[in-house]
């Protein structure tokens, strides 16, 4: 009896500590310098504008968007597709950290996993605003498995979110407590998450490539293209995020991590171009009716040419980034690294977003030619979700860095134990 009672109280104590851990993390995220407040405040304003526009959409219906029966998906799903790639790209830190035991990467891997969390939250946000009846979310408990690719996407995305919440959450909690993490509690899941990362982008590609009605998407190379473009476009986002964390949160990140990410781009970006070329060749050389979508994308079709400047801008940005990333001494010029990263991220965002989505609807199966550009409402809803993701990441990165550096630790666990934990952790990292 007494043992049971004792156990209960210790569990209760642990739960109380865990509750305090969350409160302290939230409190830590809520305080900061004036610049931090300005940053988070501006993001919050954009989130509120986005929310307001979403409410308008809920109230009036999708008539406030520029979507139509012909172009039934637009900016929301375009951003969704791109962000699934960003989430999957976190695996580029997870694999070196855990499979190749790179300690320099291990130190920042949590920041990559938290980036995946923010990306998935944005993905789910874009799905929620894209559906006509978000209040019917409970209907997702009755998923059309195994037939619907969208149902599979719901499963893999939420699974990936849970994995990426658990792994950094557990490691941060242990670090906060000054305890050694129990490998069996997270390491198997880390390896699961590596395959899971591939699955989220594969399923998202299958969502498109499985549609016989849309020849532009109905291509076997779509899933490989998705993954490769994620592995080419993801590292620059990680690079930018880690650079900002290093600058603003004073977190020491080794130059070798940046070099590794740069090298990944150097491998992936040429493959990205190769797959892109293979796709273009097949469409344009065959020159069948199905090539209309590609013609429309790059040259315009029957006077409809809204996407032409957009597609060429995207291609040029990618080529420009390719040239920059292959400059031998680019790492010594942070400004140029920044320019290369931004060009590549924007280029791939354009290509994989609207550039992938819209030609799928052009022409429609019955030959209707309808162009699409997001409405003001759609624009602000998108901005709101992006702001939400950045807001979340800023807060999470701030807290994570504080815990990793020992600035935020459990006051109830004895300082000696905590210091010892820190030492062990540091020792492990240096080895």
């Amino acid at each position: 009896m007494s043992t049971t009672k004792h156990k209960t109280t210790s569990t209760e104590r642990l739960m109380a500590a865990y509750f305090r851990y969350w409160l302290r993390m939230l409190a830590y995220a809520a305080q900061g310098s004036r610049a931090y407040y300005v940053w988070m405040g501006s993001l919050a304003v954009v989130i509120v504008i986005g929310l307001y526009n979403w409410v308008q959409q809920l109230k009036h219906g999708f008539v406030v968007t520029n979507l139509s029966d012909q172009v039934s998906w637009g900016a929301y799903i375009a951003n969704f597709t791109f962000l699934v790639g960003v989430a999957a790209a976190a695996v580029l830190l997870v694999v070196p950290a855990y499979a190749f035991h790179r300690d320099d990467v291990k130190k920042v891997v949590l920041l990559g996993e938290l980036l995946a969390v923010s990306a998935i939250v944005m993905c789910l946000g874009f799905v929620v605003v894209d559906i006509g009846h978000p209040e019917r979310a409970l209907h997702l408990l009755r998923l059309n498995l195994p037939r619907s690719m969208l149902a599979w996407d719901v499963v893999v995305l939420n699974g990936y979110l849970l994995l990426n919440l658990h792994i950094p959450g557990y490691l941060l909690w242990k670090t906060y407590r000054g305890e050694r993490p129990n490998k069996s509690r997270y390491l198997p899941l880390v390896f699961v998450s590596m395959f899971w990362a591939v699955s989220i982008h594969t399923v998202t590609a299958f969502l498109y490539s499985g549609l016989g009605a849309r020849p532009f998407w109905n291509s076997a190379v779509l899933a490989p293209r998705f993954l490769i473009s994620a592995f080419a476009g993801g590292p620059p986002i990680l690079l930018l995020a880690l650079y900002l964390v290093r600058q603003h949160l004073k977190f020491d990140i080794s130059g070798s991590v940046f070099r590794m990410l740069l090298n990944i781009v150097r491998v992936m970006l040429p493959i990205h171009f190769f797959l892109f070329g293979a796709e273009m060749f097949t469409e344009l050389y065959t020159d069948a009716h199905h090539a209309v979508a590609v013609h429309y994308l790059y040259f315009g079709h029957e006077g409809a040419n809204m996407l032409v400047p957009y597609s060429w801008a995207s291609l040029l940005l990618n080529v420009f980034a390719l040239v920059l990333f292959f400059q031998k001494d680019i790492l010594h010029k942070p400004v140029w690294v920044g320019i290369a990263c931004v060009s590549l991220v924007v280029g791939i965002w354009m290509e994989k977003g609207m550039g992938l989505l819209i030609p799928g609807f052009f022409p429609t199966p019955l030959g209707d030619l309808v162009e699409y550009i997001p409405s003001v409402t759609e624009f602000w809803v998108c901005m709101g979700i992006w702001a939400l993701g950045i807001f979340l990441y800023s807060g999470m990165a701030k807290v994570a860095v504080a815990i990793l550096q020992g600035d935020l630790r459990d006051p109830s666990s004895s300082s000696a134990a905590s210091a010892k934990g820190e030492e062990e952790k540091d020792g492990g990292e240096d080895a």
Partner: protein
């Protein structure tokens, strides 16, 4: 709001849509005259009051929560409702319409019949592109959204090609038929291998045993994946809350067919199941002045469609996609 509506479409499309709407409106008047013999001719007389009445209906539009909202929130999937639950849901829907439009509607749920597989056979030699089927369908099926939904799209294609992509959806139906053109009405093909039902993440749409692909409008989450999956543009989204004219709305309704849909859900042609399952022809067939449309049960060898399939050389749209469509086309 009006400004936002204006933003909806690209300039080019807006122009086309405007022209199409004008021609549809002109057609509607003709229909009133032409179909005077129809049983529903009485209610068509009120069409002129459409503008005023729909404005009234808009004003009545409900906001706020009542008990019905919670029932709706926890409403089960159509396939999982028992008779008692269905009765309760039907009562709610009838009440809602009474409240919104002041009309007494009869809501039915005719089940698919054994040994029946419905199909359409359309004679392209007869169809002359007059679009009567389009408007009759809209009236039968309580279309009141803006933009208006049309289950049937008529394509004007050159006689030398039957490629739908080469067709014109926006031809002027006052000057038809044009020489050298073929008119091809396209609607849901009620496929036996439907890509749309496969796409739906929540099984809000499925094929019934008489071949008709239906949508549970109370289950659809409005993700529009089925629209991307359909190779016939047969699926349509409610971009606004439909506003019906109480005087002209069709009060004979089917739960899975022509009852008023909420905004934010997808709908499609259901072969007028509330009529056809009760032994009547679909509204589009009855409206067709050329007799181009043949409808019936292909499992019944004596039916008109079965005879056409046996004796004519028929074809289907996009056969290569293996959707196994059940709208057949033929020349005489």
């Amino acid at each position: 709001m009006t400004e936002l509506v204006k933003l909806r479409r690209s300039k080019k499309h807006r122009e086309r849509a405007r022209q199409a709407a004008q021609s549809r409106a002109a057609q509607r008047d003709e229909v009133v005259v032409d179909r005077a013999l129809s049983a529903k001719s009485a209610r068509r007389g009120f069409l002129k009051g459409l503008g005023v009445a729909s404005a009234t209906a808009a004003a009545v539009g409900t906001t706020g929560c009542d008990d019905g909202d919670w029932d709706k929130f926890f409403q089960s999937h159509y396939k999982e409702m028992n008779a008692a639950e269905k009765a309760k849901v039907f009562e709610r829907i009838q009440k809602e319409q009474k409240k919104t439009y002041g009309t007494d509607v009869q809501l039915h749920d005719p089940p698919p019949l054994d040994g029946v597989r419905f199909a359409f056979a359309i004679s392209l030699s007869r169809c002359n592109g007059n679009r009567r089927c389009v408007t009759a369908c809209q009236e039968e099926n309580n279309q009141g959204g803006d933009p208006t939904i049309a289950y049937i799209k008529v394509l004007e294609v050159d006689a030398g090609s039957l490629l739908p992509e080469h067709g014109d959806l926006y031809f002027d139906d006052e000057t038809v038929p044009q020489p050298g053109k073929v008119y091809m009405p396209v609607q849901c093909n009620q496929c036996d291998n439907p890509p749309c039902t496969k796409a739906c993440p929540v099984e809000a749409t499925w094929q019934e045993k008489d071949g008709i692909v239906v949508v549970d409008y109370d289950w659809c989450i409005g993700c529009r994946y089925c629209m991307a999956a359909c190779p016939y543009e047969a699926r349509h989204f409610n971009f606004t809350e439909p506003k019906l004219n109480p005087a002209t709305m069709n009060t004979q309704q089917g739960y899975l067919s022509n009852r008023p849909r909420p905004k934010g859900v997808v709908e499609k042609c259901h072969f007028c199941l509330h009529r056809t399952r009760n032994g009547h022809y679909p509204a589009c067939l009855e409206a067709c002045p050329t007799g181009a449309r043949k409808f019936g049960n292909i499992l019944d060898e004596t039916s008109e469609v079965a005879t056409v399939l046996r004796e004519k050389r028929v074809f289907v749209l996009k056969e290569e996609l293996n959707t196994i469509p059940h709208v057949f086309y033929f020349f005489e």
